[in-house]
């Protein structure tokens, strides 16, 4: 349903009777968000000292990776018109679980896997409650957000567990072929997410469920199962992000990931995925994350005060969504036919 290089199937094809002139919606859909990123990077390279250095770009990539991995998982959920507010808390729980597993003597790969599985399990709880009990995802995940945070505190007794000999620290701090390890992991996550969404039957079902759940059901798609799985995917991604976070700070922090869910949602929406479901692209999410990361790092390099940074970030998110809404306008008008004829004559 999403466009790709070979141009197989498109969500929104080139408009038929576009007539003459520039079709803003068509081009925004394709290159808009990327253009924003390019402009932003160019701007930063000129204004901010040291922005364009290799070291700094690696730094940005590394700092982006955790939010980007969260956002990749969340993209699945949002494509089905769902939402997951608990991913920030899952970061904490899975980090704690991974560190405790490692300290219990497990080798690094096992500790990492256990952390990811802990996230997936939390995601399964979200998904099962949402899909099989037909409860509102917003409320369920609001609940698990608090619950899992509480679990992280309980497991650690409210104190960070610091271990300077943490065996899986390299996944946060190491390098692979000269590239920071979290960045490599992030790229792998996005390749996998792209493949699943674009090239598998399951991916098509995700778009279908988000596009029209009832039509999907009547077309023979197991809507409940698809719904459940997307939360498991979001949970697993959050688990992975939690492991990386713990590795980077070489400790288990019960406060890890606080507020991360909001940055991740912002990245997904910035990337052009509709909160109404059925429309969006994984590559947009990646660019959305990068934009947010570049913005933060650039503003820090420019010595913009933290409070002002928040103002600017918030404005950028609103602007992006506004442009997205503008682009949807012609379609929406067609969808709702026409407004009421009973508009009061003032």
């Amino acid at each position: 349903m999403t466009d790709n290089s070979s141009g197989a199937t498109t969500t929104r094809g080139k408009p038929t009777a576009a007539g003459a002139g520039f079709d803003f919606a068509y081009w925004w859909d394709r290159v808009g968000i990327l253009a924003v990123l390019v402009v932003l990077v160019a701007l930063m390279a000129v204004i901010a000292p040291n922005f364009a250095s290799v070291d700094n770009l690696f730094n940005i990539a590394r700092s982006i990776s955790i939010n980007a991995i969260l956002a990749a998982g969340l993209t699945f959920v949002i494509l089905t018109a769902g939402i997951d507010l608990s991913v920030g808390s899952i970061v904490a729980v899975s980090g704690v679980v991974a560190v405790m597993t490692a300290l219990a003597g497990a080798p690094a790969p096992v500790a990492i896997l256990v952390g990811i599985l802990a996230g997936a399990a939390a995601g399964f709880v979200n998904g099962a409650l949402t899909a099989y009990l037909s409860l509102a995802a917003f409320i369920i995940t609001l609940g698990t957000m608090t619950l899992l945070r509480g679990l992280a505190y309980t497991l650690t007794d409210g104190q960070p567990i610091v271990s300077n000999t943490l065996n899986f620290r390299d996944i946060g701090n190491g390098y692979f072929a000269g590239i920071p390890a979290p960045v490599v992991v992030m790229v792998l996550v996005y390749l996998a997410a792209w493949f699943v969404l674009e090239r598998t039957r399951f991916g098509r079902h995700v778009y279908a469920v988000g596009g029209n759940a009832e039509a999907a059901r009547l077309a023979g798609i197991n809507v409940k199962r698809v719904t459940c799985i997307v939360y498991v995917i979001a949970g697993a991604c959050a688990g992975l992000a939690g492991v990386i976070f713990a590795a980077r700070v070489v400790s288990a922090q019960p406060t890890a990931g606080t507020g991360y869910e909001l940055d991740a949602i912002a990245a997904v929406v910035l990337g052009g995925t509709s909160l109404m479901g059925g429309r969006g692209r994984i590559y947009g999410t990646l660019i959305g994350s990068v934009i947010l990361g570049v913005l933060s790092t650039g503003l820090i390099l420019m010595n913009v005060p933290f409070f002002t940074q928040l103002l600017i970030k918030g404005a950028v998110i609103i602007l992006a969504v506004a442009i997205d809404g503008l682009k949807q306008r012609p379609i929406r008008r067609r969808a709702n036919a026409v407004p009421t004829g009973a508009v009061p004559a003032e």
Partner: protein, 507 residues
């Protein structure tokens, strides 16, 4: 209302509207008299709705003049339309179901007292006055969503019709109404005509147009083909004006080779209002479920397909019995359903045509879950050409297609899956005549290919035109079964309404 009888109340002169390369309205001259019901007919895309949008102030015209009482007016937005006394009733309801009738009627102009306090009493009084004006018997304090669709539409009309409404445009107002509700609407429409209002009535239903209209104007391809006094023409004339050919060709089919029973429905019911019903459909046979709205036809179709869970009975396809607990069960057994509402229940409007067609067949094209995209595309394209669905549309979002082409995409979905049994619920609703005949071709093709076809339809000429056998439903039961050959509309209607004892015991 001081107009001289018969004088044009509203006149359009040379109104033209261009959308990109398409001319939606081409130099249209049209007039509406006060105290008349003027029907607008034409296929979808003929220009009726563009004309309506211009009158409603939702879109501008490129050239031409609009005259009200001989004075040229401008309608730049819906507010100006209302100020000129032009009211529009759209096909979709534009009301808030969770609010009361009175609140809906006051929407946007709520009466307020001191300090902006909402004056609820004035609101109810005002609502009652508005409802009385159109003779609608509705309690203004009730929640709108609890009312029937018909009653909600009355409220919509009451809202649109202000004291000074002189022109009322109704767009397919009875599309979702029951017969009784439609009758009520006709009464209101006639009363307004008697009061001197000029009414423009857009409808696909020849029967009601013939009942109501004084004059008929036909559009085709953005041009006004002609305006006639109803007394001077007949329905076939109108159809010829609409399509440029005869309607009889529409229903031609030649079906002889019926095979063994494919679908066997046995004691199926929802444990309450519906069923138990039992019947069979043979290979190569088209069976119609006829009956009034609310007789339970759609419900039976949904039970067979597992869209709703049956409480009793089972379904057998080619000898294999299945209790369809969910659509997947039915689909696996070889049953397909084209549901009643294309947009809500069948289509992914933002997704491409190929995705919409392929969505139910992906398992066959994805070994180990990975899609074979070239094959999927080719298979979907094959269905498109079979159904004469515009080939250049394959990458378009389905939203951009006409109703007829959208319906073909849904049909294509099940043809691609090679379903043994096809259940079509109102397959031609809201579809223009050209696409209708292509959908009938597809149904004939399915029968010829040995499929069992079950059609739910409210359109009696269609029921008689396309089926081999008719099952009439009333009150959740099948009350009569008859071969289509020799059946008449009156006969079907008599059984559907229960106004006549079962006098043709068949088989």
């Amino acid at each position: 209302m001081t107009d001289t009888p018969g004088a044009p109340l509203l006149r359009l002169e040379g109104v033209t509207k261009q959308y990109g390369a398409t001319r939606a309205l081409d130099a249209v001259d049209f007039d509406l008299r006060s105290g008349e019901i003027h029907a607008l007919m034409g296929e979808n895309g003929a220009g009726k709705s563009t004309l309506m949008k211009i009158l409603a102030g939702n879109t501008g015209r490129d050239s031409g003049r609009i005259l009200l009482d001989g004075n040229e007016i401008d309608i730049r937005n819906p507010g100006e339309a209302a100020a000129h006394g032009i009211a529009i009733i759209h096909q979709e309801l534009n009301t808030v179901p969770s609010m009361t009738v009175a609140e809906n009627l006051a929407l946007g102009r709520e009466p307020v007292g001191r300090f902006g306090r909402l004056d609820r009493r004035a609101m109810v009084v005002d609502a009652q006055r508005k409802l009385d004006r159109i003779g609608a018997d509705v309690d203004p304090r009730r929640t709108l969503g609890e009312l029937s669709v018909g009653m909600q539409q009355m409220v919509e009309i009451a809202r649109a019709v202000s004291e000074d409404a002189r022109v009322l445009v109704l767009d397919e107002p009875t599309a979702s109404l029951s017969r009784g509700e439609s009758e009520h609407l006709y009464r209101i429409v006639r009363e307004m005509r008697a009061a001197g209002t000029g009414l423009i009535y857009i409808s696909h239903r020849m029967e009601e147009v013939w009942d109501l209209a004084d004059r008929v104007t036909v559009f085709r391809d953005g041009r006004l083909v002609g305006t006639r006094d109803k007394s001077s023409i007949s329905p076939p004339d109108v159809v010829r004006m609409m399509v440029g050919r005869n309607l009889d060709d529409l229903y031609q089919h030649d079906r002889q080779n019926q095979g063994p029973v494919v679908l066997h429905v046995d004691g199926l019911g929802d444990g309450a209002q519906i069923g138990p019903v039992s019947f069979a459909v043979r290979a190569g046979e088209v069976v119609c479920l006829a009956g009034l709205v609310g007789a339970g036809r759609t419900e039976v179709a949904r039970l067979i397909f597992g869209a709703d869970r049956p409480r009793t009975g089972s379904v057998t396809v080619n000898g294999t019995s299945v209790v369809p607990r969910r659509p997947q069960d039915a689909i696996r057994a070889g049953i397909a359903m084209v549901p009643e509402s294309r947009k809500d229940q069948a289509l992914f409007l933002d997704h491409s045509v190929v995705d919409n067609i392929a969505v139910s067949s992906l398992s066959a094209f994805s070994p180990r879950g990975v899609l074979q995209r070239k094959q999927i595309r080719a298979a979907a394209a094959a269905q498109m050409s079979k159904l004469k669905l515009r080939a250049n549309a394959i990458n378009l979002p389905v939203r951009a297609l006409s109703g007829g082409n959208q319906q073909k995409a849904v049909l294509g979905r099940w043809l691609m899956r090679n379903a043994e049994v096809l259940i079509l619920d109102e397959p031609t609703r809201g579809v223009d005549i050209g696409a209708k005949s292509e959908i009938y071709d597809a149904i004939n093709g399915l029968a010829a290919a040995g499929r069992a076809v079950l059609v739910v339809s409210s359109d009696l000429p269609e029921v008689l035109g396309i089926s081999d056998r008719i099952l009439v439903m009333r009150g959740g039961q099948i009350v009569h079964e008859m071969p289509t050959a020799g059946a008449t509309e009156e006969e079907v209607m008599a059984h559907a309404t229960g106004t006549q004892p079962k006098e043709h015991p068949h088989d």
